[in-house]
């Protein structure tokens, strides 16, 4: 057992932190919340040049052939910086599934585009029901000659408005059991019949409603196997949930540090508020939650990286970390006092993102049910 990062991983963390501290100040985060695109194309190119977009891809697809674990270190730093933009959906929700189940041709076509920063990808999975089970997939794809025709509405699709390609999860067999009639399609984002509406969300994080109105997709754009896509979707959700935990761990760590610094500086009754035991104990609770979240997240991330089955561990990580992040923020707000609930202060960025992250890719209740099953209940 070894919970620590390697020297190379620590170096990657430091490099990522330095870069994001410099290039992603909170002024940019704020600006991008109001920006229509929601990301900085220039910063996107710089990340591509650093090799971040293809970090976990093999060299032959333009990647750096590093481990999934290394990618998760980047995600942690991105969570710390509240990096706006389509990194998560392009790499975690788009690139890695293609690497997993794409045909050689698809990999050769799409992965270098992602690695070079030339294409933005996303996953169109959830629908108006807001659920993550197979039965919730109602968007239909019907075969028609050399194409499939997709019809229906997807909701909460990240960065769909700027996506060059959407991985669309659609029902291709309505007679089969819910898990058995689902297929993944690679859909050109500019296809006729796709309509995007931006959703106003708590974190202004560019989630979209995507309407597919008779959208034609060539059969060769099926990703993986016809009608057998649900197992892959579950894998995508599981991995992305752990990746989301990494973002949360990075955010929590930053919130803890901001709060402790504030408690050391802020004086009331002629002494730093951090000298009061009540405040100290709040901070201790926060530190315990941050460490616990980090351990269970790293455990699941490590298992994913090693290719080990980790349904239970991933579920534990997402259920625990989403809850813990919000506990950490509640205490942080209490310690920051009124300044923390203003737009002048940075804390609100984290407060909003914690809730968004806890809800996406399966919330705590969703994962508690998985843990119950895994525990033999």
């Amino acid at each position: 057992m070894d919970l620590s990062l390697s020297e190379e991983q620590e170096m990657l963390r430091k490099a990522a932190r330095d870069f994001l501290t410099d290039k992603c100040p909170k002024t940019l985060v704020k600006e991008m919340e109001e920006d229509e695109k929601g990301y900085s194309p220039q910063l996107w190119q710089e990340m591509a040049e650093l090799g971040w977009l293809g970090l976990a891809f093999p060299e032959k697809y333009g990647g750096s052939e590093m481990q999934f674990l290394d990618l998760l270190i980047l995600l942690e730093e991105m969570g710390r910086a509240c990096l706006p933009g389509p990194f998560f959906c392009t790499v975690v929700l788009g690139g890695l599934p293609i690497l997993d189940i794409g045909s050689e041709e698809q990999k050769q076509e799409y992965l270098p585009q992602i690695a070079d920063g030339k294409a933005i990808f996303t996953l169109a999975l959830t629908e108006p029901s807001g659920r993550y089970d197979a039965a919730a997939v109602e968007v239909k794809a019907v075969a028609d000659g050399d194409d499939y025709v997709i019809t229906g509405t997807k909701l909460f699709v990240p960065d769909a408005h700027i996506a060059d390609c959407l991985l669309c999860v659609a029902r291709t067999d309505e007679q089969a059991a819910p898990e058995d009639g689902i297929t993944l399609f690679l859909v050109d984002g500019k296809s006729p019949g796709i309509g995007y509406t931006m959703l106003k969300t708590i974190a202004s994080d560019k989630l979209c409603e995507v309407v597919f109105d008779q959208v034609r997709v060539p059969k060769k754009n099926i990703l993986g196997q016809l009608n057998h896509g649900w197992r892959e979707v579950q894998k995508i959700i599981e991995r992305a949930a752990v990746a989301k935990c990494c973002e949360m761990v990075g955010g929590m760590q930053q919130v803890l540090e901001m709060t402790v610094d504030y408690a050391k500086e802020r004086k009331q009754y002629d002494r730093p508020i951090g000298s009061f035991q009540v405040i100290q104990h709040y901070c201790a609770h926060m530190a315990t939650d941050v460490d616990g979240s980090r351990f269970c997240t790293y455990q699941a991330a490590w298992m994913l990286s090693e290719g080990l089955p980790c349904t239970k561990e991933a579920a534990i990580a997402k259920a625990w970390t989403g809850d813990a992040y919000r506990r950490v923020l509640a205490l942080s707000h209490q310690i920051h006092g009124a300044i923390g609930v203003t737009m002048d202060h940075d804390l609100h960025f984290y407060t909003a993102r914690a809730q968004a992250a806890a809800a996406t890719l399966g919330d705590a209740d969703f994962y508690r049910e998985i843990v119950a099953r895994e525990a033999g209940l």
């Binding site: 057992m1 070894d2 919970l3 620590s4 990062l5 390697s6 991983q9 674990l69 402790v260 408690a263 050391k264 002494r271 730093p272 951090g274 000298s275 035991q277 405040i279 100290q280 104990h281 901070c283 201790a284 609770h285 530190a287 315990t288 460490d291 616990g292 351990f295 269970c296 790293y298 455990q299 490590w302 298992m303 561990e313 534990i316 259920a319 625990w320 209740d365 508690r368 049910e369 843990v371 119950a372 525990a375 033999g376 209940l377």
Partner: protein
């Protein structure tokens, strides 16, 4: 990063499990909550000793196995999972032997460590006093030098193992003229000395796990002093880190956890198992999540120790976390059992062998002993996060 155990460690875990399962089959013990502190069996301790499982991490030259703290955590994890009656050797193995190793003379090491390792020295802990709880350094028990001896006078409270201990570890004031932290020394004395009186304290569960120890002009030879005279506080603080480092905080009532899972699967309500009720599933799943997170805290602590560092902030964190967990476990269990949850082991109607009410009562004390959760959070805040004291 690597969350795997080595093959040797997995084999070791299996070996410990097989031993404990065999002991249960033989009727040598029945799994209980808090067995590590309440259930004592010199015979069981001797069997553990024969396998070399006491002093597992100590150097071979003193009869130990020179193994890692992760190995020891595996051993104790299994002892706790099976609710084994390990109280006789627990304290000496966990913290006293390490203290002797770190601060004792060669003579003390050669005398005490083999006795502990053979499962013959049972050491009770004499730290707290009526007026010295969290503020332990204000202790009043005095040890006064008299020729080649010390004369000890005072009173200890919450000393574990009154019925079986044959040694008492105690801290006493050896210099009352200096600041309170600077005049304290550590001793290990035999229990059966003139002037030592042990009186059991009946705790909230009705158990006699703790005791008052009255010391009335107890004469002990100088060789009972461990480490530097007046240097005991620093030694003690490190020992407390080790005391807090273990899995017993997370798994003290693990037999209840298993019994609760079984209970919810076997109990029917309207023809359905309780375990199919979404609310109950959710509560049990949350316990599993909290348990697994706690387990990672525990292994982090063992890793810190394997790096050769006392697990100060880390053990404070894991202990505060774990005692809160065991309190939630007891509460959830007793609530799910409803009216039956109040039935103690003697009742034929008691579910889960009456483990729930015992655990519900006993867990109230564990967030106090070995550093109250408040003291532990002070440590996390001040030493871990660098928050100021004033």
């Amino acid at each position: 990063m690597d969350f795997r155990f080595t093959e040797e460690q997995e084999a070791f875990r299996s070996e410990v499990r097989s031993f404990l399962e065999e002991e249960i089959r033989n009727g040598s013990f029945e799994p209980h909550c808090d067995a590590w502190i309440i259930d004592y069996s010199p015979e069981f301790t001797r069997k553990v000793a024969q396998r070399g499982w006491i002093g597992l991490t100590w150097p071979k030259e003193y009869g130990g196995q020179g193994r890692s703290f992760v190995d020891r955590l595996i051993l104790t994890e299994e002892m706790l999972r099976y609710g084994a009656p390990a109280a006789c050797h627990w304290f000496a193995d966990r913290q006293i032997g390490g203290g002797v190793l770190a601060h004792g003379t060669e003579e003390q090491k050669k005398e005490l460590l083999p006795k502990i390792i053979k499962g013959e020295a049972y050491v009770g802990l004499g730290m707290s006093e009526p007026e010295a709880g969290s503020d332990l350094a204000s202790l009043k028990t005095r040890a006064v030098k008299d020729g080649d001896d010390y004369i000890i006078d005072g009173q200890k409270m919450w000393t574990s193992g009154g019925k079986y201990m044959n040694y008492i570890y105690l801290v006493a004031r050896t210099d009352p003229t200096v600041a309170k932290h600077r005049g304290i020394s550590e001793f290990i004395i035999e229990k059966d000395l003139p002037g030592v009186t042990v009186v059991a304290t009946i705790d909230i569960t009705g158990s006699e796990a703790w005791n008052e120890v009255f010391l009335d002009s107890v004469r002990v030879p100088k060789k009972c002093l461990i480490g530097a005279e007046n240097g005991g506080w620093r030694q003690l603080v490190t020992q407390l880190d080790y005391e807090r480092s273990g899995m017993e905080r997370l798994m003290g009532n693990y037999p209840l956890f298993e019994a609760l899972m079984k209970f919810t699967k076997e109990s029917k309500r309207n023809g359905e198992s309780l375990s199919e009720d979404p609310l109950i599933r959710s509560r049990l799943a949350q316990l599993h999540i909290e348990f697994e997170v706690g387990r990672l805290h525990m292994y982090r602590v063992a890793m810190v120790m394997d790096q050769g560092r006392a697990p100060n902030v880390e053990a404070a964190m894991s202990k505060a976390y774990a005692t809160a967990f065991e309190q939630r476990l007891a509460t959830v269990a007793i609530e799910i059992m409803g009216l039956h949850g109040q039935l103690t082991a003697e009742s034929k109607w008691a579910p889960a062998r009456g483990l729930a009410p015992h655990s519900y009562l006993s867990c109230q004390g564990y967030s106090l002993q070995a550093g109250s959760s408040e003291v532990l959070r002070n440590i996390i805040a001040m030493r871990g996060l660098g928050l100021p004291s004033e």
